[in-house]
């Protein structure tokens, strides 16, 4: 009886007792959700356009962030004048690096594996992940780095609101992240729906063979989309890195994007945001209000269990297409 009270009633009582804390928690959840969604977006882009589940998206985020910081540091070292010029220069150069990476991945990994079953491509991205981990550590070293937030002119500090009997504090960088993410999502969604290249991308995701037979250049498409995912990864890396340092631990955090994808579907761009927010908010609420019941650290698995429960009722996710198997 007492247990039932603790699980089903008490947390809500607590929520009501300190509504400003509730809002704060919801906000934190939203922010986490937006960041998960950004990573998920990278997965969706690549999956939507090449049918590949890019397990390496997480490490691409880390790699992009590390490259940015590293190049910016180099540029400053070589005396390329003020910090922010170096920062934006590094931004451009990093984008080029991601383009190079996209080209490399297409050439070495995707082209030889054209037409192979999805699971093979998925496992190949495992290999890519490990390769990039080693390569990244080799180039940049394993210690955490600080993101060049100031040089990029990203806002610092917090907005404080007095509400609901207490304080709610929103970090400005989080607001910026939410805004940037929303813009990216909208832009990408439009791109896929309205443009010729977007259509071609969707065709490729459906069937490599068929797309080839209509004359779509798979190579160009793939480089384009992996580059786009690389840019998303860069943005994600900047946002994540601005909140906490850039380290390889981020890579495992990227696995959290999987529950997001399950909720939002693997091929839906708006789904990534919706899924991300649900997971982020669910996780934060769960951890804050129910966590003390079970002991700390439940955020390590809560997202997955949420996704699992969801899958049991709707195996194709919120936005995914229902798979009808024909025989």
């Amino acid at each position: 009886m007492d247990l039932l009270y603790k699980i089903f009633l008490d947390p809500f009582v607590q929520m009501g007792a300190a509504p400003d804390l509730l809002v704060q928690t919801l906000w934190e959840g939203l922010v986490a959700g937006v960041l998960y969604a950004l990573i998920a977006l990278g997965y969706v882009l690549i999956y939507k356009a090449s049918g590949v589940f890019n397990f390496a998206q997480g490490i691409m985020v880390v790699f992009a962030a590390l490259t940015l910081v590293g190049v910016a540091a180099r540029l400053r070292q070589w005396g390329v004048a003020p910090g922010d010029v170096a920062a934006y220069g590094a931004l451009v150069l990093t984008a080029l690096v991601m383009l190079g990476l996209a080209w490399g991945v297409e050439r070495v990994m995707l082209r030889p594996l054209v037409n192979q079953p999805e699971i093979i491509l998925f496992m190949a991205t495992f290999g890519l992940t490990y390769f990039l981990i080693g390569f990244g550590e080799l180039l940049f070293g394993g210690e955490p780095k600080v993101m060049i937030t100031d040089d990029l002119h990203l806002p610092r500090g917090a907005l404080e609101f007095k509400m609901l009997g207490g304080f709610v504090s929103l970090q400005k960088i989080d607001v910026a992240a939410a805004v940037i993410a929303s813009i990216m999502v909208a832009a990408l969604a439009l791109f896929f729906q309205k443009t010729r290249i977007g259509r071609a991308l969707r065709a490729v995701a459906d069937s490599h063979k068929a797309a080839l037979s209509v004359g779509i250049s798979l190579e160009q498409i793939w480089v384009t989309v992996w580059f786009a995912a690389g840019i998303v990864a860069l943005a994600t890396g900047i946002m994540w890195g601005a909140r906490s340092d850039v380290s390889f631990a981020l890579q495992t955090l990227a696995l959290k994007a999987l529950p997001v994808l399950i909720l939002g579907g693997f091929t839906s761009i708006p789904g990534a945001i919706v899924g991300g927010v649900i997971i982020g908010v669910g996780e934060k609420l769960g951890e804050f209000y129910w966590g003390p019941l079970l002991g700390s650290g439940i955020e390590s698995w809560l997202a997955y269990v949420i996704a699992l429960v969801f899958l049991l009722f709707r195996p194709q996710g919120l936005f995914g297409e229902k798979i009808i198997e024909r025989i």
Partner: protein, 358 residues
């Protein structure tokens, strides 16, 4: 020319369906067993036993477990590490409660604990397929990893959170614990792994193996020939977790001698998955190949610079390891998605016609 079956006729179906129907294979396996049980103990140093042979055997067993589930039954699983952990902790609790019982019996019994948990986490497999199931197994992995730390009862309320293996003897010889020699431990591990490999091959050659492969290849058709999908999948989860659980128990009791929750995290799951991919999905012998390869590669890489007279920092070697493993996985998937096992089959094929090219 060496590897010809010509002249080897089978007069019974039973003979045709045996594990090694070809005489050369039988000789081969006899040699391997001879080397493993006799020559290695005689010739290998304690260090090599502890650092190479025992680990490879442990991982081979875990790889077989994963292979049964993913390679044969087609259910993708990323929870291998966690199931190994369940086996290890079960064994630890069993030795705490039954200090007089034979340790090998307890190790095998702990597989049952793992099988039970594995079956529970396999329940979603009726509704969820393929890739989504993999994510569901991640839920198992992370939840179990968390509980290894959060349930102090598991590690007997030890302050450090780690478990230490108690000494257990058999026939007067220390088998586990600080007094057990590498040789003893090696022989015990070898025996368990050999036995369980034989059992796995029995399962796979019969009705159950065919059922699993049918579920893997086309589950709709499997249903229509009368296979109950749900029981087949749950059985796969149960048996696979059994194998992983025993592997986990052996890992802690006969190799490390101690363990902490971190030994059974997601990285362990990935490690075993790589072994299965590189070795060959759906191949028992591939499990061994994969374990040897993935375990042996870093050893070779660490030794190589010295061998060539170069000095490279240890950290760099580790980075290079990651890069090479990653690149090799991609290479394998391009060149031979069916892994080392397939290369082995091709090699045998070439031996059949050698010295002719085809």
């Amino acid at each position: 020319m060496l590897y010809r079956e010509a002249g080897q006729f089978k007069t019974t179906y039973g003979a045709d369906q045996s594990v090694f129907p070809i005489r050369q294979d039988r000789i081969g396996i006899a040699i391997i067993l001879l080397v493993a049980f006799v020559l290695v103990p005689l010739l290998a140093s304690s260090f090599v036993l502890s650092a190479v042979f025992i680990p490879v055997l442990v991982f081979s067993l875990a790889a077989i477990g994963l292979n049964l589930l993913t390679g044969y039954a087609g259910q993708v699983s990323l929870g291998t590490g966690a199931f190994m952990g369940v086996g290890a902790y079960t064994c630890y609790k069993l030795t705490t409660y039954l200090p007089q019982a034979n340790i090998i019996v307890l190790i095998l019994a702990s597989g049952l604990g793992s099988a039970a948990i594995g079956t529970v986490f396999g329940l979603p497999s009726l509704r969820i397929k393929g890739f989504y199931l993999a994510v569901a197994t991640l839920a198992a992995q992370f939840f179990l990893s968390w509980s290894f730390v959060r349930i102090p009862w598991l590690y007997n309320y030890n302050v450090s959170g780690a478990i230490e293996v108690p000494t257990r003897t058999m026939l007067g010889v220390a088998v586990t614990g600080p007094n057990a020699t590498p040789l003893t431990r090696y022989l015990v591990v070898l025996s368990i792994v050999t036995l369980m490999t034989w059992v796995a091959s029995n399962l796979l050659r019969g009705r159950i193996g065919r059922t699993w492969m049918a579920v893997r290849d086309m589950d709709i058709a499997a249903e229509l020939i009368g296979i109950r999908l749900y029981s087949a999948k749950l059985l796969a989860f149960a048996v696979s977790s059994f194998y992983c659980g025993v592997a986990g128990a052996i890992m802690v009791f006969l190799w490390f001698g101690a363990a902490e929750a971190d030994s059974f995290n997601i990285d362990q799951s990935f490690l075993i998955l790589f072994m299965v991919i590189v070795g060959g999905l759906g191949s028992l012998i591939g499990s061994f190949f994969g374990a040897i390869f993935i375990w042996g590669l870093p050893i070779v890489l660490r030794a190589a610079p010295e061998f060539f007279g170069l000095t490279i920092r240890a950290a760099t070697v580790e980075h290079l390891q990651f890069m090479i493993v990653g690149a090799l996985i991609i290479f394998f998937l391009i060149a031979e998605p069916a892994g080392l096992a397939r290369l082995w089959q091709i090699g045998k094929q070439k031996l059949r016609v050698w010295p002719f090219p085809y």
